[in-house]
Symmetry: C2
Subunit: 377 residues, 2 copies
């Protein structure tokens, strides 16, 4: 028993899981730089969307309640399995919690061993912005420099910075029904606006925001069929980055906006259920974005065309983001460890774990079992 | 900035996640006692299966590879959302890893806040045994005292102890193709066998194990269509607890065994895909066990009837086990904390997190962004 216990306590190189906490993720992003993180994730996304057929894809599972939704988003290639847990509860901000909270993991496909667990609340904001700007760089008119940003909550700074840094946006018009949210966004953007030379203006209506915009980003939180944008707002050549409509019964655009646009999506089977697309007939034509990236389908074909990215968030984006954050976290020395899986001397002898526990707490074992343990020891 | 930062650092009572590590779960089970833990989970299972219609149920998602499978298993009632990550890789034992590794979480349905994250490798073994014995107590013949246990790997001690403690098994016949696994099981059971007065015998064949058994438990790991048990092994009145056939292409029983038995399942849509049932026509009649528990369907109706529990493992069992382990862990003071979700002073201001990070690592910010941050500070 003594010898066996000693073996159990040998450290194993095989069984460990890296962990990136919420605080360490914030430290990491501050250290690397938020625009640099979004750039790195954008690069990973382009590489991963570029090998779309390597992935085992599925629409996420969703548990709906009156207050919100909780989703699980798995995806895998031949080497890595990734999943994200994420909620969407618009009422949360009223009692001090974020609307969206997330965490997730990477595991080895060959063994099922979970190798990395991470916060994904901050990371989701980064990867959503990275996805939006990856698509906009391909679909928006060259020289697009004015963006309307409608919905100025937790995701909005990340969207703004991605488009300033990677698309060259130099005029931003902000609108939110909560004026304090717009003021917060303007305040957070101020130093970047000064650095990049961006004019940031709060406006009083969607119409004022959209007027003259090259890009319109909608990222509102309400879980209902809202009409944040109607067809009267459209202008030739616009690119619409529609981020907020992302589950059944939660949309932002008038159906006519979709009807007048060329619509691009992440993963069609999921977007049909969750995106703005849920408003349209089942045969309404859309293009999966990876086909544009790989040259299999056209993107923007004219300056007058209205392009629309019906973004709902797809598991592959979390795969790319988890791998990027793990690599950055490792370089920065900001990964800790989490003891999620037991280390076993004999993997068929899970029961032996209890002897380890017993060594430490023998005195507190229930009497009926204590008698049994004592005979082993 | 200084005042704002101070606010960010206020602790919040709302945002915290309890954590039960693999080592602390082993400590907890050793402290409470393994048979007592299985009893507590069995009680929770009976209560939760007894309110079956309170739950939002779905078949688990599975990512299959040549080496194994990785699954996500969500379930929710009006208050609690639970999910488990679990793999099944039979080859793992050859390179020192468990066949099955698992972890999971409980979250508030009302907010999506993850409240509890736990190892579930050990806990899965406990809850699988608890589920088996819950079903056997209802379906096995009164006075069943002899059990064949086929497959003597990581799960087998837990199955044996549950049936010894809660069904009154007093004769155990062990068989495994790996004789060392049977020897390990016999060694681990020895003190309990002495305490409860159980005769434990290793035998050389399935036939020798099954001969005269009241209960036959099969819990093998091979990911293939095996025939661990064929119809020649059947005897009137037997209860078969078939645990190992649990994903497409992984079965243990000859189809004729099912044809001659009354078959009970956890959640029919999932078992049709994953259980022994995958061998049978779509209209082969089965009974969901909760209906027996609630009196809506008969269980065993005669002493000669052969009852068969085609167990695949259902998310509700992890819900019950997670809640039980959280309660036991809290009582024992063995829960730690994991910082999975950021604490925000203003939940619409996720970006403010980066200022916290910046305070700590200002000197290492990339130069382009450092200039921007300095204008805020």
């Amino acid at each position: 028993m003594t010898a066996l216990t000693a073996v159990h306590r040998l450290p194993s190189a095989q069984v460990h899981t890296d962990f990136l906490s919420a605080t360490d993720a914030a430290r990491l992003v501050a250290r690397v730089g938020v625009v640099e993180c979004v750039r790195r994730i954008t690069q990973a996304l382009e590489a991963d969307f570029g090998r779309w057929n390597d992935f085992d894809k599925t629409a996420r599972t969703a548990a709906h309640s009156a207050q919100g939704v909780i989703e699980l988003m798995p995806v895998a290639d031949a080497h890595d399995y990734a999943f994200k847990y994420v909620n969407g509860h618009p009422v949360n901000t009223q009692h001090g919690l974020p609307t969206v909270m997330a965490f997730g993991a990477l595991a080895d496909v060959a063994t099922g061993m979970p190798r990395f667990v991470s916060e994904l609340t901050l990371t989701t904001a980064l990867r959503t912005a990275a996805t939006s700007v990856m698509v906009a760089r391909t679909l928006a008119r060259p020289g697009s420099h004015r963006m309307a940003l409608i919905g100025n909550g937790a995701q909005s700074e990340f969207q703004a910075l991605a488009f300033i840094d990677q698309l060259g946006v130099r005029e931003l018009r902000l609108f939110d029904v909560d004026r304090a949210a717009s003021a917060k966004l303007q305040r957070n953007l101020a130093p970047f606006a000064a650095l990049y030379g961006v004019e940031v203006q709060m406006v009083d209506s969607v119409h004022a925001a959209v007027q003259g915009a090259d890009v319109v980003t909608t990222v509102t939180a309400d879980k209902r069929n809202a009409v944040v944008l109607d067809a009267s707002a459209l202008a030739p050549g616009m690119h619409i980055n529609a981020v907020g409509g992302d589950c059944p019964g939660k949309t932002e655009l008038d159906a006519e906006v979709l009807a007048r646009s060329s619509v691009f999506v992440e993963y069609e089977p999921q977007t049909r259920l969750e995106g703005e697309l849920q408003q349209m007939p089942a045969d309404f034509a859309v293009t999966e974005f990876w086909r544009v990236l790989s040259g299999a389908a056209p993107g923007r074909v004219s300056d007058a065309q209205i392009t629309l990215f019906d973004s709902v968030g797809f598991a592959l984006e979390d795969y790319s983001a988890l791998r990027t954050m793990q690599a950055l976290g490792r370089e920065a020395g900001l990964l800790s460890r989490i003891e999620l899986v037991p280390t076993l001397a004999d993997p068929k002898d899970l029961f032996a774990l209890l002897h380890q526990g017993e060594d430490m707490h023998q005195a507190t074992l229930p009497s009926v079992e204590r008698a049994a343990w004592h005979k082993v020891a």
